[in-house]
Symmetry: C2
Subunit: 152 residues, 2 copies
Amino acid sequence: MKSLCAELERTWHDEIPISKAMGIRVGEFANDRLVVRARLEPNINVHGTAFAGSLYAIAALCGWGMTWLQLKVHAIDGSIVIADGRIHYDRPVKSEIVATCRFAADEHATALARLKTDGKTRFPLECSIEANGEIAARFGGDYAVRLEKRRS
Amino acid sequence: MKSLCAELERTWHDEIPISKAMGIRVGEFANDRLVVRARLEPNINVHGTAFAGSLYAIAALCGWGMTWLQLKVHAIDGSIVIADGRIHYDRPVKSEIVATCRFAADEHATALARLKTDGKTRFPLECSIEANGEIAARFGGDYAVRLEKRRS
């Protein structure tokens, strides 16, 4: 799992330069739970709290990362894009940004099976951002996945 | 209008460092229409197109900027935060990112009046992102504004 997390973080930093500018790091991954972190400083806004756009981007990458990890775990080569996203901001984030995405395997079993039979599917995922133990923002995104031809 | 646009861009780059990393620039402002631009390169993703998180952030700042400009035009000192945002991605952006927000004064007259009487209000705003003349993403955000004491 650790090497997958390192590969995910490297993919982000190498291929999505703004994720590096945001200082996004993979915190931990344990099958059904991915935690992504970023320091406040590079993501600060005019109020001295976390920029709403950064919070969205970090939550959206958390969901993307969870989808990427699930494909890796199931040895599936797929292309992932977010088709739709929404976020509600509950309170300002004044410390490190911590986003968590959960993936309930039973809930997504049908979508995963559809990927194998139809070559494409969608995973609706939710991520939360916490600050000082309280929910600061709630994100939902629809991730569209297409099978890629396996590289030999 | 030009000096207001320059002040808005300076505010973003000075106080929201990630907006500078994204290369966000104020394109033009003409009362009811604000255009915000960013080069593709710093906002690229694993597919070589614009990162969904950057598209959201740029659209969200376009709406925030429109609110900021409207307050300036009406000589109101207010604090603006986005309370809620949603975006639908229609197609990938493979060139410069161009976000446009329109502010229909008659549509927002009641919300503006409420700010003066109640000291707070909300502006629901929509922004679109175009690529090669086609809509690439549609964004909606609710901007909460509170009056600030006028600085003497």
